[in-house]
């Protein structure tokens, strides 16, 4: 967190020295993006709050925590492949899930499939690539996401 603030301050200072106008434009652009995404983030926070209240931590830990094993990965991979959540929302949500007991490798599988495998967006992909290529690509990435999660799991258990 502190580091992020330091980086931001340095970036803004360097940017101002090089081109104040451009800096102002950039800050304005960023703030507009924030405004655009804020309602959705608020709504997700509310829903996550309600779900976390109803689901006790023990259940989350049992199915998506460190002891969940492979089934936790598969669950995360399927959820990530089907879901259509932008990263701006997925990361804050993941941060909360980790604090509630979901393991880092499971989050990695979720994030990776969320970003790389698009089950619902496959029709769009097929418009560009035809039918076969998206099927192969999404399949390969689905497997890769599980492997990436496994590798991260090994590192976190060290």
């Amino acid at each position: 967190m502190k580091l992020l603030v330091v980086i931001a301050v340095i970036a803004i200072l360097v940017s101002i020295f090089t081109d104040p106008k451009k800096t102002w434009l950039g800050i304005k652009k960023g703030f507009l993006m924030f405004l655009k995404i804020a309602p959705a983030i608020l709504a997700v926070l509310i829903m996550v709050s309600v779900v976390l209240y109803m689901l006790p931590n023990e259940i989350i830990i049992k199915y998506l925590g460190e002891e969940a094993g492979f089934s936790g990965y598969v669950f995360a991979a399927i959820a990530g492949s089907v879901a259509l959540i932008p990263g701006f929302i997925a990361y804050p949500m993941s941060g909360i899930l980790v604090k509630s007991g979901v393991s880092y490798p499971v989050i990695a599988v979720f994030i990776t499939t969320l970003m790389m495998v698009g089950f619902l967006t496959m029709p769009i992909e097929m418009k560009y690539f035809g039918k076969k290529v998206p099927l192969i690509r999404n399949g390969l990435y689905f497997i890769a996401a599980l492997l990436i999660g496994g590798l991260i799991g090994i590192f976190y258990s060290l």
Binding site: V5, R137, F155
Partner: protein, 177 residues
């Protein structure tokens, strides 16, 4: 401002309902309502309010300073290691969801980028966009972000190579919808 309100009708309805629910809960002393707000929602909200504005300022600055055209100029059909690095760098500077990558890949393909580079672009676009990395580091930490990026890169390249093997000599072509 109006456009933002219109586009987020559903989200804003949720926010409004939750506000009413919380106020009523506090007023009549409905415990679950108070707990959901105090224990869960409020602490999440505070964290977001600290992180998000800083991140979006960084993203805005990145958007202004890194222009796609500048990098794109340097990816012709030249392949090899330098090509891979350039494609990765180009994709890192992007924003938006996966399906936003396809129009750009179409452009790259039309300009003569190789099959491998096209799929490296898609893979890197999905996983290591700089704006996303700032979010990832902020919410999940350096260790997680670094590990995930490091482990993802070989898979991105490997899958791109597999795709190239499969599609080579198969008359691969992209189309614009």
């Amino acid at each position: 401002m109006k456009a933002i309100l219109r586009k987020n009708k559903l989200s804003l309805t949720v926010v409004l309902l939750f506000t009413v629910f919380t106020v009523v809960s506090v007023y009549i002393g409905f415990k679950p309502g108070v707990i959901i707000f105090k224990k869960h929602f409020f602490s999440f909200l505070m964290e977001m309010l600290l992180f998000l504005p800083i991140m979006f300022i960084l993203i805005g600055l990145g958007d202004v300073w890194i222009s796609r055209e500048k990098v794109e100029k340097h990816i012709g059909s030249d392949s090899g290691f330098k090509g891979i690095l350039l494609v990765i760098f180009l994709s890192m500077a992007q924003v938006g969801p996966l399906y936003g990558a396809f129009p750009v890949t179409y452009l790259l393909w039309k300009k003569g980028a190789g099959i491998r580079n096209i799929f490296i672009y898609i893979g890197a676009f999905c996983t290591i966009k700089i704006p996303m990395l700032t979010f990832e580091i902020g919410f999940l930490g350096w260790k997680f972000s670094l590990l995930r990026t490091l482990f993802s890169l070989p898979f991105i390249i490997l899958i791109a190579v597999i795709m190239e093997r499969i599609l080579k000599n198969k008359n691969f072509r992209m189309q614009q919808p």
